[in-house]
Symmetry: C2
DNA sequence: CTGAAAGCGCTAACAC
DNA sequence: GTGTTAGCGCTTTCAG
């Protein structure tokens, strides 16, 4: 900046004024400073400026999602980026990988870099450790999973209701033996979806069968193996409710190779790529990751703009997409 | 930091030493400082420190990909993140959206935040504007597309060769009327893949037919419409080479709805989600996005560690995955 | 409309 | 082993 000032024959503060588009600088001076900056390829250092600036904004945001490679997370990320771009805010993106340590290290990495706000998917049993930052005015919005030990804005899918819808759909098709395949019960969404499944069965007077409920399915291969086990049962399920997108893919693969894909009904939670082009096409309870990301990002910026209201829960609706696999009737 | 120093009853520099794990501090003092830092919830400001530090590293990296929501880009991103994590480097991720303006604004956003290195997918006709940063010691690695007007490390897929492989495969199945469906020719990968297609046809003595080559397909819908047009031709193609993943999806949809998916052969460039589960399963020339991301990230860090050798071209191999759609013979 | 001086939170260089 | 001083690149404050 000093170099630019010297070259333009002005003081350092004038350069600062021009760069920050502050008023009270003559057109001519502005032009001269701009020319000098151009010539020296001057790039202002945002961090040096923010050191002394009143609001201390870094125009930066930290985003922690399940995995940047997962289609659901990627869609959330994209939505956040689009909103952030409008405000010239850059986003740090990280993957959680369901690792509690990673939650902590990512959050700390964000905080040391003085992000203006945080959008987080979490796995630690408690997020109370973030209370200080929240009080300190750093907006935090939790996405996809509800936090514990802290009151903060949260944007989640209507997990239990969506799962209920899926199970009701299968019940309406005449199924009574409906299997549940889900993630680790440590994960908020897995618990909620299972709750929806159980409640709906009970409401319908169907006694849940422990042999038809399988948890801890954290990859496709495990889901496939679980389906093989289910089909080998004396009285196998006539329908499957798969509570997560990767699990659904594993279920489809396994059903296919057992030749059971047109016999056993399937409804998945969260949409699956190419679902409409599969045979049978896959009926799903679709989430709306773009809305989740958008709502979360807007909330962060609203708070940054001074919004001061109690923490709020945003629940994003799901949508049952009927495509074929969920309309197979029990034989 | 001053507060921590006061609370611990030491000088500010001692706190700095403890935080940065510098030697020559007594165990006892370390313990005292740590306790004070804990108590005050002290978070060092990485940017303030880097202002004076000799190497001026921000432990931050800028990544620009096609779109964070595209599976190919997402896989590149994930690989970069994994490598960066090992070094406690955070990554800013942005989407290009094939918009030249966005390339410039993203790069500038990264630069103003003083990233240590850049991994970029570009669309501007020239990247000469980055010469100054490169000379200044900021490592830049171009991924997926070769830059122009600048000598820098580049990691790309063997586009022309992969396309050749696809077309040779179709020729070997007996096809002579092979259509090409591709992206905007402004895009490096689209040009390269088309070149591979054309060269291979010519080598085989097949005269390219302009009516069978369609460019500028930048979404699924356009690809679908293009296929419909092709099928309406007097002598329609017996095979299709689709040069990009979104286009392949559009082609499949269209072929399906025309009832031609088991009659017209298809080989896609870049793998498609669920490809193995479709009917027929989709033969593709698979790329290796994880390797691309990993090589690019390692290269950035090698340069940051002082590696000083001429810019290099890394070409990542493709792999033909035979699944069914590409093995349909002409009727 | 413009500039000089102080200071943001930290590290470098040097003293003790 | 520990503290002091200067200064990183910028904004703030205040004087002109």
């Amino acid at each position: 900046m000093k170099n630019v000032a010297d070259l333009a024959g002005v003081g350092i503060k004038t350069v600062s004024r021009v760069i920050n588009r502050e008023p009270h600088v003559s057109e001519e001076t502005i032009a001269r400073v701009r020319r000098a900056a151009e010539q020296l390829q001057y790039q202002p250092d945002i961090h040096a400026g923010n050191l002394r600036r009143a609001d201390r904004r870094t125009d930066t945001l930290g985003l922690l999602v399940g995995s940047v490679a997962n289609p659901f997370s990627a869609a959330v990320h994209r939505a956040v980026e689009d909103i952030a771009l409008e405000r010239h805010v850059a986003v740090f993106a990280s993957s959680l990988d369901e690792d509690p340590e990673r939650e902590l290290s990512s959050v700390n990495a964000f905080l040391r870099r003085r992000v203006d706000g945080l959008i987080l998917t979490t796995i630690q049993p408690s997020q109370a450790y973030l209370g200080a930052q929240l009080d300190q005015g750093i907006p935090i919005v939790f996405v996809d999973r509800r936090p514990h030990g802290i009151e903060a804005d949260t944007v989640i899918t209507e997990n239990a209701e969506g799962a209920s819808g899926a199970v009701e759909h299968l019940l309406a098709m005449g199924h009574r033996r409906i299997a549940y395949l889900g993630d680790d019960a440590k994960i908020f969404t897995a618990r909620e979806r299972k709750r929806g499944y159980l409640d709906t069965l009970r409401r319908a007077g169907v006694a849940p069968d422990a042999r038809l409920m399988i948890d801890n399915l954290d990859d496709e291969a495990k889901a496939s193996a679980a389906v093989a086990d289910l089909l080998a049962l004396d009285d196998p399920p006539t329908a499957i409710f798969s509570a997560q997108n990767l699990i659904t893919v594993g279920v489809i693969t396994s059903l296919r190779s057992a030749g059971a894909s047109t016999r056993v009904a399937l409804v998945g939670f969260d949409d699956v790529p190419m679902a409409a082009l599969l045979e049978p096409a896959v009926t799903v309870v679709a989430q709306d990751p773009a809305s989740i990301g958008e709502i979360a990002a807007r909330r962060v910026f609203d708070r940054l703009d001074g919004l001061d209201e109690p923490a709020r829960d945003f629940v994003v609706p799901t949508r049952l997409i009927v495509r074929g696999s969920g309309e197979i009737r029990p034989s």
